[in-house]
């Protein structure tokens, strides 16, 4: 069985490096000299930059990209539909929260995109992690109920996909729903399911093709996968979302981190996300030096200080980063969503220097 390796698209704009926070690409910051694709004077917009990242990822050997969704990002459905015609094998992993979109609409959008791309849509279903953000979105359903709703949402979505579907549930009701004839018979998108709480893990057991976790210390990750297996009749595959900072030498890689660390500010938060609290617990009590957050060789828990997003990632030379990925494969990981800043250049770098070093069946 083969391992699927994705590369993230920066829906929040991209920054020049991890040395200084602040998006200079895609119009997410006030325009300054050197800002790229802001959509102003030259008409090029963030869609053009994202298209280049998608094409570069495709060329570098990635199967596709994760298009994340937060209040401050561009919308992944809009981006996937915009870029659908501009790649040939690239899969669009669309992140979305079931609460915002009706499942009939989600089915219709997905099937249209499946038809337009030859079946290259993948779902990253997000349920929790909202907190105050959830009300920003106009969604009042609370944390555990959101997973119940996600389950029902996917039941309805799959029912509509099959056709002739009638349903009366707690969150949704439909009568004789289905897709138009020109959109039937398409493959249902693979489901990547995130969430670290017990409610999430229970729902993942029912619906996930892939259970997707942020990177954590490997032991914790293995334990989490064990819980998901225990809660599933048919266990899903496992995927990990990992930032990588890989360089020719170890020193070069850590120097990049050190520079970012010196200019970084402390303290963020992520609502009622259990995954977020977990990741913070692994670095609780760490000292002030950036290397204090290296919880095991090359596994560093400070990425959230250098750019918006999860805490853990891999730092090291090309061989070290590849070795850690190999260990994760040995641990049972079937798919990776890798990322690096800036996403364009780092996609090319990782594709050229790290991916060729991956092996199966060895841990060192």
């Amino acid at each position: 069985m083969s391992v699927d390796i994705y590369w993230r698209i920066a829906m929040e704009g991209d920054q020049r490096s991890l040395r200084r926070k602040g998006a200079s690409r895609g119009g997410f910051a006030p325009e300054v000299p050197g800002a790229l694709a802001p959509g102003g004077r030259d008409d090029y917009t963030h869609a053009d930059y994202m298209a280049q990242v998608a094409r570069a990822s495709e060329a570098a050997g990635f199967v596709g990209g994760l298009l994340p969704s937060f209040p401050h990002t561009d919308d992944p459905w809009a981006a996937a539909a915009t870029l659908a015609g501009e790649t040939s094998t690239y899969r669009f992993m669309v992140a979305f929260q079931p609460g915002f979109l009706h499942p009939v609409k989600a089915a219709h959008m997905s099937a249209t995109l499946q038809r337009a791309t030859g079946g290259r849509v993948v779902y990253n279903i997000i349920s929790g992690g909202g907190g105050p953000q959830q009300l920003w979105w106009g969604d009042r359903v609370d944390h555990d109920d959101r997973y119940a709703r996600t389950s029902e949402f996917l039941d309805v979505l799959k029912g509509v996909w099959r056709g002739d579907f009638t349903h009366k549930g707690r969150f949704y009701q439909v009568e004789d729903a289905g897709l138009p004839e020109s959109l039937t018979g398409l493959p249902f998108p693979q489901v990547y399911f995130s969430g670290s709480s017990p409610a999430a893990i229970a729902a993942a057991g029912r619906h996930a093709d892939y259970y997707l976790s942020w990177l954590e210390p490997f032991e914790a990750l293995a334990e989490k996968f064990g819980q998901v297996r225990a809660h599933s009749v048919t266990p899903p595959k496992f995927a990990v979302r990992i930032d990588v900072l890989a360089r020719e030498t170890e020193e070069e890689a850590w120097e990049e981190i050190r520079r970012g660390w010196t200019s970084a500010a402390r303290g963020t938060g992520a609502g009622d996300s259990v995954g977020w609290r977990r990741s913070q617990s692994f670095v609780a009590g760490a000292g002030d030096d950036h290397r204090d957050l290296e919880v095991q060789p090359n596994v560093w828990g400070g990425f959230d200080r250098l750019r918006a997003g999860p805490a853990f990632g891999l730092v090291g030379d090309y061989r070290q980063v590849a070795a850690r990925l190999n260990e994760l494969i040995a641990l049972g990981v079937d798919a990776f969503i890798l990322a690096g800043v800036p996403h364009l250049e780092e996609a090319l770098r990782v594709g050229e220097h790290v991916l060729p070093l991956l092996t199966k069946g060895t841990s060192k």
Partner: protein, 305 residues
């Protein structure tokens, strides 16, 4: 609507078909490298490009549950064009207004603010229920009113809080750079008191049907632009147009380019500025409109100016 040379040129939009398109199969011995089924954006994208190149003002992607998803199609058309406006048809049951606003803000960022909204309020009961939408009667207008209020609220206000019958938002508001884009022009239609009241509050364009009592509706809807859904079949002369119409059983505005231009000018004098033309086959007729009809409408403008 375009202002050129001091006058107003009616804006002409082409209405996309809902259905897919499939070319006939070639005989087996003829080399055919095409993929099995063309994607929805191949055919619809071709019509959008035709509208762009033929100088039309816009493309309407009408809501039709038997067709393709309108936002996916609209995004594809916007990506393939630089000038035409693209109106996506949808009803309020598809998503929360916050989400609809956010998705649309991204499309405005990607397209230079060329997305419009064609909001369908009335749906027949069967269609509505197959869409998971069980709301009926005047409530549908009440929900549409809230939907547009919330969507515009989060679009224009930094901190938007709303507590309504259908939607709640706390501290919403699109952040930079999603904020500051132009809100999609809102197209609405309908003749009922509820429809007219909704348009008076929220429409940028109220779209009539050819058999509506246009004068009386215009009187009740000051301050909005007026549009017209218009089936058109235009040819070199009236006889040719009638023959073509007879062949396909066409009913609608039929005649020579001059006659059709006259009819459109007539509507324009009554205040209608946006024409949503329905015609087929789409690519061919779009080029025909661009090459034969638009110059006549533009010429009229210069005389006025």
């Amino acid at each position: 609507m375009n202002v050129r040379g001091g006058g107003i040129t009616p804006a002409v939009h082409i209405t996309l078909p809902a259905g897919g398109w499939r070319p006939p199969a070639l005989p087996g011995f003829v080399t055919d490298p095409r993929p099995e089924a063309p994607g929805p954006l191949d055919h619809l994208g071709r019509i959008g490009r035709a509208a762009e190149l033929a100088g039309l003002d816009g493309v309407l992607v009408p809501f039709d549950p038997a067709g393709q998803d309108t936002f996916v199609v609209a995004a594809g058309l916007l990506r393939r064009s630089r000038h035409v406006r693209v109106a996506a048809g949808f009803h309020a049951g598809i998503a929360t207004p916050v989400y609809a606003a956010k998705l649309s803000a991204s499309l405005q960022r990607f397209s230079g603010d060329r997305l419009d909204w064609r909001l369908t309020v009335d749906l027949d009961t069967r269609t509505a229920r197959s869409q998971g939408d069980f709301l009926e009667g005047p409530d549908r207008y009440a929900r549409a009113e809230e939907f547009l209020t919330v969507a515009k609220g989060v679009w224009h206000e930094g901190e938007f809080t709303f507590e309504g019958r259908f939607y709640q938002v706390l501290g919403g508001g699109l952040p930079f750079p999603l904020s500051g884009r132009v809100f999609p022009r809102v197209h609405l239609s309908g003749t009922s008191p509820e429809a007219v009241a909704l348009s008076a509050r929220h429409a940028d364009v109220h779209v009539f049907s050819p058999d509506d009592d246009i004068e009386s509706l215009i009187d009740r809807l000051p301050g909005v632009a007026y549009g017209l859904r218009l089936p058109v079949l235009a040819r070199e002369d009236d006889g040719e147009a009638r023959t073509a119409a007879g062949r396909i059983g066409f009913s609608g505005l039929t005649g020579s380019y001059e006659a059709v231009a006259d009819a459109i000018r007539g509507y324009a004098r009554r205040g209608v500025s946006e024409f949503f033309v329905e015609t087929a086959p789409h690519v061919e007729e779009t080029y025909r409109l661009g090459e034969h009809l638009l110059p006549l409408l533009a010429k009229e403008t210069h005389h006025v100016g």
